[in-house]
Point group: C2
Chain length 620, copies 2
C-alpha cells in the first residue's frame, strides 16, 4: 500500500490482519524518516501506530469522532486521513501541517489540543451536544497514563459517568509519558497492568451471568455478597471507582486483540474505558530504550546512528541547560532549595539536578496547579522551593499563584521556560501570555535576563528569597559565557540605560534580543538611546524618568510577550504621570500565533530585528 | 466552661467525654447566635464541632499544624484557640476576625485559604519543608467530600504518598458540601459510607497479622492470594488506589470514637486518611434539614424561626437572582442552551433553572477547569453552553479559557457572578482580577451591565452565540425593573455617552455604579460629560474619539476591577493614538483587599461615590 494514495481510512475495512500489520510497518518507517528530517514527537507516535489503525478499522470517522489527548500522537491518524504528502513535506513548517490535531486542517480532526488532559472534558461536552442536537456517532478518546493523572482529566473522569450517551476512553498506558509517571495513581496503574487480563466489564458481566437460570442464581448470590465479590473483580481500579465500565489491559501492538477489544467496546451500551498497554517508541530501538523522555519531542536526527543533529556551535547551550546549571550551583550551596518540575525533567534539562539532589527535587507529574500550592506551603514552612515550568503551562496555575502564593506574600522562585515564540509546536505552546497574566497579580516580580551572566545575577537576587520572583527565558540557545558575576548584584527592577549622544529616539528592549539590538545599533552607529528592560515588573522608575527627560520618541521592542506586558505597564506609567511622548510598540500581538521555526514566525509577524529597524527608519 | 476564658486548647486534655460534649454544646450555641447576628458559614461549622474539639484534644497545636481546607469551617478552632471575644464581636467585620484561617490572626492558623481543595497540596509542601528543616510535628488536614473531587485536591492526593514524613488527612464526608456533590467519586464515597465500619488500615492490618505464627502464616497466604483478599478489603477506595492508609468511616459526632480514631491515626507511621461522617448543620434543625445549601453561607437570621433577615426592599432582587431569571427566559425559548455551574446552584440562584430544565443544566462540582473545557467542546458540537461562575473561581480556569475556548475562537456565554468587592468573605473571594486576566486573552468580549434591563440586552446579544462573551455582575442587590428592552439591541463594544454643556471633565464609569453616579451628577447639575463603559473589551472607539475631541480631563471610575482592566485598556489606546489628555484613575488598586461590608471596604479604599467626588472636586 502506497501511503501517498490514502485518501481516507475506509480501505482499512477490507484488509487482513497481515495486511494491516504491513501497513503499520510502512507508517512506522514514514514517521521515523519524517521526524528525523523535520523534528517532532517520535516516541508517542510510534507507540500508537497499531492502535490508530485499529481504531480507524473499527470506527467510521469523521462521523465517529476520534480525539487524541494532547494531539501529539496523531501522526498515524494524519497519514490515514489523506494528509501523507503534507506530513512528509511540511510537518511543523510555517503554513504547513501542524504536529497536533487541528480543526481547520481536516474534517477528521474534531477537536484540538496541545496541553494535556483536556480530552475527557471535551468528550463530556460532545456527548451533551449530541443529546441536545439529536445526533449520533461514537466518540473515542485516547489518553495516556500521565495525562490522566492531571487534575483536569480527573475532574473530567469524575463527571463522565453523569453524561448522556456513550463514549469510549482508550487509556493508553505506556508507563512513561514525557518523563517517568509519578504519584499514587501511576502505582495503581502498574498494579492493574501486571494482573491477569480480564476483558469482562461490569455490565457485560452482569448480562452474561443473568442469561440462564444458573447465571441468575449466581447473580443473586453475587448481589448478596457484593461487598465481597464486587470489590474483588469490579471495584479494583480508579475507572470503576468513578462508575465507568472497564476492559483490559490489552496488548496495544497486537492488531487482532485490539480490533476485538474495540469491537466489544463499540457494542457496549455504556461509556467504557479500554485499557491498552503500548510501548513508547515501538519499532525504533533508541526510542524504545529511552527511559527519560529523550525521544519524546526531538529535533532532526540520524536514523541509523540515532545521533541528534545540532546546529549549535560548541560555545552555545540551550537556555534550559544554562538555567538548570545555574540553579544546580545554587542548590550545591544552599541545602534549603528544592527544585520542582511538572513532568519536564528532560524538557527543562533538569536531569543533573534530579540525579545529584534526589531528596531536593520533585517531579509532580502533569500537575501544574498542585506544584504552586505545594511550593507556597513549602516556602511558608521554611524551605526554598524553585519551580521550573514552561510559560504556556504556567497558565494552568493562575489561581494557585494568586490565591496560594501571592495573596499570602510568600517568597518563591520560578523559572519560566520557553518564554516567547516556541516555534514548531505552535499556537498551543507559545509562551507569550505570561507577562500580561502575571502583571495583574499583586506582589509579583517578573524578569528576563539578556544572557547567562545576567541570569546568574537574577537568580542570585531571587534566591535571597524574599519575593515571588519569576525569571523568564526563551527556547533558543545562548552563548555559554564564563562566570564573571560573582561580585556583582542587581536591585529589583533595575534596568540598564545606554545613553547616545544626540539621540533621536529611545529604544527599550527585553531579553536576549537586547544584545542583538545593541550589537546592531553599535555597528551602525545609530543615534538611539538603548534601554535593557530586565524587569517587566516593577518598572525602573529612575530610568523611566531619565527617558522622559530626554523627550525623545519611545520605541518598545519585546519579542517575548504580548503588549499587555511591558507596553501596557509603560503606557500606564506615562498616563498616570501625565507624560506626552510619542510611543511606538513592537510587542507580540495579542493573538494566537501559529507554528513554524522561531525565525520564520518572527519574520511573518514583522518583528525580526531587520523588519523592526526598517520600519522604524521609515517612520523617523 | 465559659468560652470567653479559653486562652488555648490545652485544657481539653483533662476533660471527660461528658465535659467535652457539654463544651461542644456551648460552642454550637455560640456559633448559631454569632452567625445569626453577623452572617457567615453556618452548616459547615456546625458539622465539625465535635471533630475540631477531638482534634485539639488529641494533637498539640500550634506545634501540630491543623489545616482546614477552604477554612470556612474553622469557627470552633477559633474559639478553642483564644479568639472567642473577637469571634462574637467582630466576625467578618472590617478590621475584625476573618471567616477563614489567617496567618496573621493566630499562631494556631498555619495556613490560609478560601478557595477549596488546596489543603492536600499544602500538606505536601509542609511535609517536605519539615524534612528540609529537620522539624517535626503532626500535620492534620480536614477536607470535605466535594473539595476532594476537585482537580487540585486529586493532584495533591496523587502526590501525597511520595512525600516524606507523615500526615493525617481527615476526610470530612458530609455528602453535601455547598451544593449536592456530583460525579462518580461522590457515588464511590457513598458506597464506602454505607458499608460496615472497618478501622483496620493496610499497614496496621499487616502488623497485626504478622505478630504471631498464625498471623505470619495467614499473612503469607494473604500475600499469595493478594489479588483476591487485598482488593477485597484494602483496595476498595480511591485513597488506597493512590497508596494511602485508610481508616473509617467514623461517626463524626461521637466524641469517644473520634478521639480513639485520631489516637490510632497519630500512632500510624504512614500518612493515613481518616474517614469521618458528619452532618452539616448539626444541632440547628433548619440547617440540618437543608438539602440544597441554603444554610451554607448566610446573612443575619432569626434563630427561633429560622427566617433570614433582609434589608432589601421588595422592589430589589440580588444580581444573581436577576441574571438567573434572564438566563431562564432565554432557555425557555432556545432549547440549545445548557446551563453549567461549578457547585454554585444555590450561590448563583440557579435553582429554578435546574428544576425546570434538568436535562439542560449541569453541576460539575468544584471543577472550574473541567467546566470550561467541557463547555468549549459542547459549543463546538452545536449546543449553546452558558457557564455561571464567581469571578474569583474563574481564576481557576485561565488556561482552559485560553487553550480550550478562545484559541479555537469558540463561542461561549459566561456569567461572572460576584464581580468586584464581595464584602465579608474578604481577600480570597474578591472578584477584582478577572478583567485584567481576561484582557490578556485574544477573542474575548468583557462586559458589565448597569441594571437589569441592560443585562437583558447584553444577554440578548451574547446569545446570538458568535463570541466568547463574559457578562460580569456584582454581589449586591438591584432594582427589579420591568422588561422594556424587547425591541432594543446592543452592538458589541457599545458605550453610552452623555454630553454635558460646557463640560469641565469626562467621567467614565462602569457597572451599576454608573446609575448612582448619573443620579448624583444630575441632582447636583455638575458640568461633567458622563460615559457608561458597558464593555471592558472591546472599547467603544467612536465614543473614545468623541471624548478625545472634547479635550477635557478624563476620569476613570471603576469599583468592580483593578486598574489592569479598563484603565490599562484606555491608557493603551491613548498612548497608541498619541493623545495627550490628563487622566485620573479611580479603579480598584492591584492589591489583596481584606474583608468587611462592601460599603465599609469601598470607604476604606476611598472609592465610594462621596469620597471620589470630594477628591475630584478638590483637584479641579
Amino acid at each position: 500500500m502506497e501511503l501517498s494514495k490514502i485518501k481516507n481510512p475506509k480501505f482499512l475495512k477490507t484488509l487482513s490482519i497481515a495486511e494491516l500489520n504491513a501497513l503499520c510497518s510502512d507508517i512506522r518507517q514514514c514517521i521515523i524518516t519524517t521526524v528525523s528530517q523535520k523534528g517532532g514527537h517520535l516516541s508517542s507516535n510510534l507507540g500508537v501506530v497499531e492502535l490508530t489503525v485499529a481504531i480507524h478499522r473499527v470506527f467510521d470517522a469523521p462521523n465517529d469522532k476520534i480525539i487524541f489527548d494532547v494531539g501529539h500522537q496523531s501522526y498515524t491518524h494524519k497519514i490515514l486521513t489523506g494528509r501523507y504528502q503534507e506530513f512528509v513535506d511540511t510537518l511543523r513548517d510555517l503554513g504547513g501541517l501542524s504536529g497536533y490535531q487541528k480543526l481547520d486542517e481536516s474534517k477528521y480532526d474534531p477537536y484540538e489540543a496541545g496541553h494535556s488532559s483536556t480530552s475527557i472534558s471535551a468528550i463530556c461536552g460532545f456527548l451533551k451536544a449530541q443529546e441536545i442536537n439529536g445526533k449520533t456517532g461514537e466518540i473515542i478518546g485516547i489518553i495516556g497514563d500521565s495525562s490522566l493523572a492531571s487534575g483536569l482529566a480527573l475532574e473530567g473522569l469524575n463527571n463522565l459517568a453523569n453524561m448522556p450517551g456513550k463514549a469510549i476512553i482508550i487509556f493508553n498506558d505506556n508507563n512513561m509519558a514525557i518523563s517517568k509517571p509519578v504519584g499514587g495513581l501511576a502505582k495503581g496503574f502498574a498494579r492493574i497492568r501486571n494482573t491477569v487480563i480480564y476483558t469482562s466489564t461490569k455490565s457485560r458481566f452482569k448480562t452474561a451471568l443473568s442469561k440462564n437460570k444458573f447465571g441468575r442464581f449466581f447473580y443473586r448470590i453475587f448481589k448478596s455478597i457484593k461487598n465481597f465479590i464486587k470489590r474483588l473483580f469490579l471495584d479494583s481500579n480508579i475507572f470503576e471507582n468513578v462508575g465507568l465500565d472497564y476492559m483490559g489491559p490489552i496488548d496495544g501492538h497486537n492488531m487482532k486483540k485490539l480490533i476485538k477489544a474495540l469491537e466489544i467496546a463499540k457494542k457496549n451500551p455504556k461509556t467504557i474505558v479500554v485499557h491498552v498497554v503500548t510501548t513508547k517508541g515501538k519499532g525504533y530501538q533508541p526510542a524504545e530504550n529511552d527511559l527519560v523522555g529523550k525521544w519524546h519531542g526531538v529535533g532532526e536526527f540520524d536514523v541509523v546512528t540515532g545521533a541528534f543533529k545540532s546546529d549549535k556551535s560548541v560555545a552555545n547551550i540551550t537556555w534550559s541547560q544554562g538555567i538548570s546549571a545555574i540553579v544546580h550551583s545554587f542548590m550545591e550551596n544552599d541545602k534549603k532549595i528544592v527544585a520542582i518540575t511538572p513532568a519536564m525533567i528532560e524538557g527543562s534539562k533538569m536531569q543533573q539536578i534530579f540525579s545529584d539532589f534526589p531528596n531536593r527535587s520533585i517531579d509532580v507529574g502533569i500537575a501544574e496547579e498542585h506544584a504552586f500550592t505545594m511550593a507556597g506551603a513549602m516556602s511558608l514552612g521554611g524551605a526554598k522551593p524553585y519551580i521550573c515550568i514552561y510559560s504556556t503551562f504556567l497558565q494552568r496555575s493562575y489561581d494557585e499563584i494568586v490565591h496560594d502564593v501571592a495573596r499570602m506574600n510568600i517568597p518563591l522562585v520560578v523559572g519560566v521556560d520557553r518564554a516567547g515564540i516556541v516555534g514548531k509546536d505552535g499556537s498551543t505552546h507559545q509562551g507569550i501570555f505570561d507577562v500580561g497574566m502575571l502583571r495583574t497579580i499583586p506582589n509579583v516580580v517578573i524578569s528576563m535576563p539578556k544572557d547567562i551572566n545576567d541570569a546568574r545575577l537574577l537568580f542570585k537576587r531571587a534566591f535571597e528569597y524574599d519575593k515571588l520572583f519569576f525569571i523568564r527565558y526563551p527556547r533558543e540557545s545562548t552563548p555559554l559565557l564564563p562566570v564573571n558575576a560573582e561580585n556583582q548584584s542587581l536591585e529589583i527592577g533595575q534596568w540598564d540605560f545606554y545613553k547616545a549622544k544626540k539621540a533621536t529616539l529611545t529604544l527599550i528592549v527585553t531579553g536576549p534580543n537586547f544584545n542583538k539590538v545593541k550589537e546592531y545599533v553599535d555597528s551602525k552607529n545609530l543615534p538611539y538611546n538603548l534601554v535593557f528592560a530586565r524587569f517587566y515588573q516593577p518598572l525602573d522608575e529612575k530610568v523611566l524618568q531619565a527617558i522622559i527627560q530626554e523627550k525623545r520618541p519611545l520605541v518598545i521592542y519585546d519579542i517575548y510577550a504580548t503588549k499587555e506586558g511591558l507596553f501596557d505597564a509603560i503606557s500606564e506609567y506615562l498616563v498616570l504621570h501625565n507624560v506626552d511622548l510619542a510611543v511606538k510598540d513592537y510587542s507580540l500581538p495579542t493573538k494566537f500565533i501559529k507554528h513554524g521555526s522561531i525565525n520564520n514566525v518572527l519574520d511573518h509577524l514583522g518583528l525580526n530585528l531587520e523588519c523592526v529597524f526598517k520600519d522604524m527608519e521609515s517612520k523617523e
